[in-house]
Amino acid sequence: MPLLNFYVVLHKELSRVALAQKKLPLPLDDGEQQQQQQDAAASNQDTDSTCKSTPSCIGEQTLNEELNECVDPECHVYFLQEVDLSTRTCRRVRVRDAHISRSLCSRY
């Protein structure tokens, strides 16, 4: 199904494959074709509502490019640190929670 978009040539002796696009209009020269294709690519990038935009990460979040989403900092790996959900940065665990933690630690 994907290759239905192309004319395909398999050159067995040279171990090479050639593809020609079926649907793009034939341009006058390669430069024009490249410009048309760049326009098409730019159009995909800028105007398609079906493309998800890159999220704006805040605080100490990092962008996971593979999944196109922001990832919170791993505050839990630091002692008594947690993610502040409003700023997405690490903060000290609140005193009351820390008190509970200490109580639990002393109990066990």
Binding site: P2, L3, N44
Partner: protein, 158 residues
């Protein structure tokens, strides 16, 4: 017409080639890797993408997507996406790639990969190839997940 680089795969077969700079929505599908091996197969029907590329493509679409196994369509792990509007009213992006470093972009419009459309939902002829799934080719087990897989035969419908 765009020619691929001369490629000597594991078997020196003509059905393998390198594809460069796979993109959708103006962004790369391949992460840091600049090339991907494509295998032109005769036994599969849809575009097969290794799990990382499949996940990336899914993440670039403004839709809720999952994989679906549909016996009636003869596909496994196909991409199913639900959009916020009827699919017929949407303008979907194209996948693009090159066959050489300096070649021109070639395009596969997602519209050309529809298997089934119903209202806001579409099943694409795009299958996930798990990187660690092994396939028996020529009597030898090998990791098939590294290949982008396309089907050569002229078979357009279920």
């Amino acid at each position: 017409m765009q020619w691929s680089e001369s490629f000597s795969g594991a078997e020196g077969s003509v059905n393998e080639l390198m594809v460069f700079d796979m993109r959708m929505c103006g962004r790369r599908l391949q992460g840091s890797a600049s090339t991907q091996t494509m295998r032109i197969a005769t036994t599969y029907r849809c575009l097969g993408l290794p799990t990382p590329l499949f996940a990336r493509l899914k993440a670039l679409l403004n839709a809720t997507c999952s994989t679906v196994w549909d016996d009636s369509l003869d596909v496994t792990d196909a991409l199913m996406c639900e959009f916020s509007q009827p699919v017929a009213s949407l303008r979907l992006p194209s996948l693009s790639f090159r066959l050489s470093e300096t070649g021109l972009d070639l395009f596969v419009p997602l519209e050309s990969l529809f298997l089934r459309v119903q209202d806001n939902t579409v099943i694409f002829c795009i299958e996930e190839i798990e990187v660690h799934r092994y396939d028996q080719l020529g009597g030898v087990y090998r990791d098939v997940g590294e290949y982008v897989r396309v089907y050569l035969a002229d078979r357009s419908g279920p």
